[in-house]
Symmetry: C3
Subunit: 344 residues, 3 copies
């Protein structure tokens, strides 16, 4: 795949000099591996030195920097964003590698309604009353149970399980092995055994959500477990019943969220963090990896540790703990001085 530099310039919305327009670009690569006819990028002055040894033909770069003479600059405000655009151009989203057309080896119940240009791979099961929007792709072995709805432009990878009555928005990407709509974890102790609390609610997932591999989202006891638009959940995340996650929140791998937790918009949390049931995390809060969040977190605050506290305080505590040997030594010295005073 190749492109004229003029085509790439148009793609990212900039003008380039006439003499550069017909230069042929055959790929995009980072500084270290870019070769002749590649376009590369830098995002700050710390990369300028490496640039001198770079063989790229063109570079995405901010106006304040000057590349070596042998590399054609494409001046942009946000080189990384332009890099993403060109990366997509050279490596278009590969939904057709996941499924192409409707496989005769899929089973689609008669009452299911598929939009136009839907692709369904082999061994997919689509239950009664399911609706699937235009241009959505469903990977092999994915199972979609009764009365679920999936929007348009979605990409579902293989071996996903979507349990009945789940609602998924548009342009959602779901990776392999994800489970959506499994029962919440609720049992009531009665006469020495545990009675299952029926889980009759549903899961609703907004537009532009991405769910990574083997993540699990439980349906609500009653009502809705809700993942708002633009949320990104990494691999192996556990979302309990009735949880609400606000738009554009990003949760890293293996995070666990107990039942009825409410996480705000634009929250960022690190891998393996845990959230105890019923707590609220405010908009724009930050949660460090492995933090054990047992209380509400106000908007915009960063917490860490177990039990999670304001990160600033956690660091101070850590310093105090590291100072303990000194403290002990100090006390020893004071004791000696007191003894001497007592013996005067």
């Amino acid at each position: 795949m190749e492109a004229k530099l003029s085509e790439l310039a148009e793609l990212i919305g900039i003008e380039i000099p006439e003499e550069s327009k017909n230069i042929i670009i055959s790929g995009i690569a980072p500084l270290e591996t870019a070769t002749k006819n590649n376009i590369t990028f830098i995002t700050g002055d710390k990369f300028l030195k490496k640039l001198e040894e770079c063989n790229a033909t063109a570079i995405l770069i901010q106006k304040k920097f000057s590349p070596p003479d042998n590399i054609i600059p494409l001046y942009v405000d946000d080189p990384f964003y332009s890099y993403i655009k060109i990366l997509e151009y050279f490596n278009p989203r590969r939904s057709e590698d996941i499924a192409s057309g409707i496989s005769p080896n899929a089973i689609i119940e008669e009452s299911a309604k598929l939009g136009s240009n839907v692709s369904v791979a082999p061994f997919v099961y689509i239950g009664a009353g399911v609706t699937i929007g235009d241009n959505t792709t469903i990977g092999a072995g994915t199972i979609i149970l009764k009365d679920s709805s999936i929007g348009s432009g979605c990409l579902l990878y293989p071996n996903i399980s979507i349990i009945d009555r789940t609602s998924i928005g548009n342009n959602v990407i779901i990776h392999a092995g994800v489970v959506i709509g499994s029962d919440g974890f609720g049992f009531y102790p009665k006469n020495g055994s545990l009675v299952k609390v029926p889980q009759i609610g549903i899961v609703e997932i907004g537009d532009n959500v991405e769910l990574q591999a083997n993540t699990c989202i439980d349906r609500a006891v009653m009502g809705v477990t809700r993942i708002e638009a633009g949320v990104k959940l990494d691999n192996l995340v556990h979302v309990g019943h009735n949880v609400q996650i606000g738009s554009n929140t990003v949760l890293a791998g293996q995070i666990g969220i107990a039942g009825s937790v409410r996480i705000g918009k634009g929250v960022q949390a690190g891998g393996q963090a845990g959230f105890a049931e019923h707590i609220k995390v405010g908009d724009g809060a930050g949660v460090a990896g492995q933090a054990g969040v047992t209380k509400d977190v106000p908007p915009g605050i960063i917490v860490s540790g177990y039990p999670a506290k304001e990160h600033r305080k956690a660091i101070l505590e850590e310093i105090h703990i590291r100072n303990l040997p000194n403290l002990k030594q100090k006390i020893k010295e004071l004791e000696k001085r007191i003894s001497e005073l007592e013996n005067r």
Copy 2:
């Protein structure tokens, strides 16, 4: 779906006055969302205030409370338990939504033996020598390998993997993506490489167990990994080889249990807790979320933190740590007073 109040009263085993018997109830809902013709419930006096604005037609309530005149009381000892019973009535378990009849697109080896009224969804594989009890339902894409046995009244969701010779009791619910009987994690270092220790044992799962989505239970090296009756495991739990989990123990999401751990009966553990290999946890013990249990836990004791210690002690330590700035300040003051004494 509708019911006369007399039918619901019979269901939960109480008498109601003649004039209430023909009242029609069309659903069950919590206080906040209950509408006319709904039945609701309260479990304590803190909900009495909300009750005044509730539009429900009837309520499950203890004798010591009085509902407003416009709501018909159904006096019961345990309103939440009665609520579960009525919830099940209005929302019967939906095994027929998972599978109904034997799909011609399932593959069942000839030597497998299925009881009466077994339902098998498309793309299910049932291996040679497998036995399945009456009224069990197997969801699409679930794979059951050779010589496994599954009891009666079980509900298996889609995309489950049951490896050979696994034994599962009656009335077991298994959610999507669960893996049972995968190899334990055992390797022996020899001449600079790792030799696999053959994992020739099995997994046995008792009656009334529920396993949530994507949980993994390893087979024993030799002998049995045993999950006793009534155990509930949440999403993404890891159970190592040769682990024993006692009856009615409840383990929350993402708990990890290393090889040969023995957990007693009626234990409750919070999300992301971890158990080091070979330890024993006594009956009725409690383990806080994210606790790292590295030593035996006596029966009935609650532990937390890393390394896990008695919860009471962990809280005291936490208080001592939070007091460190004061301690440091105190030492500073004492030092000053000593200096003054020395200078007298």
Copy 3:
């Protein structure tokens, strides 16, 4: 299944006396459960006492120990290693229980190339351009997407998802539910939303790797996520994009590894440990269970706790923390002595 003792002796490369050669052995079992005609083993003198009550016919034992007269000794340098060899003999690897021959219910795209003696179970999908080496077995419901390659002698259990262009070596074992090649977790904030960074790299897995159930390995943003030869990953492990794991490293259940982490050769890490992005862990390092590794770990060093520090230091800190009540008491006493001095 039975064997003459002479056959077992040959298998483990030792000579035995003429009179023992025709003794029939029908199984192998640990000390506690071994019965007549079984062979057992001990690995140290602490087991000698139990040996006196053992009914085994023969034993794998080091020369420095003497078994009771009724048990025939097979003297070996490494009894556990010999035990593994005999265990494999009596319980040969059961790839034929996973799949045998090519199922007519699998779908194999025309351009896929399968070696000799490959077995493919029902509901397996093998995409265009996939290559599979000799003697490899693929379990039911496993999906292998376009242009992936799998070596010879591999065993893939059911319901695995291998995303396009994944490369897997020889003699690799992959357990049920594993996902390889799902997208890395990369998003770029732009104008209040999150733009997906295309994940165009791949995953490469070396020879003799074993991946346990439901583990996830993300493809690289660009370049390669690399799992070197002999690596063993337990259940539910999360490996982020562009991670490198050195040969013969062993990572226990639910470990999480953020993007671009480099783990050396022969590293051992305990369950639920976490690794922050971009850090390096040196060859032969050790990481305790639940450790939160936020900085580089030098070769051969053992770390624990959060944030992870040298294990020796972590234990000292733990002791200092446990001593805090004493410290507080000591300060109180010093204060009293100072007051007395001041009052003189």
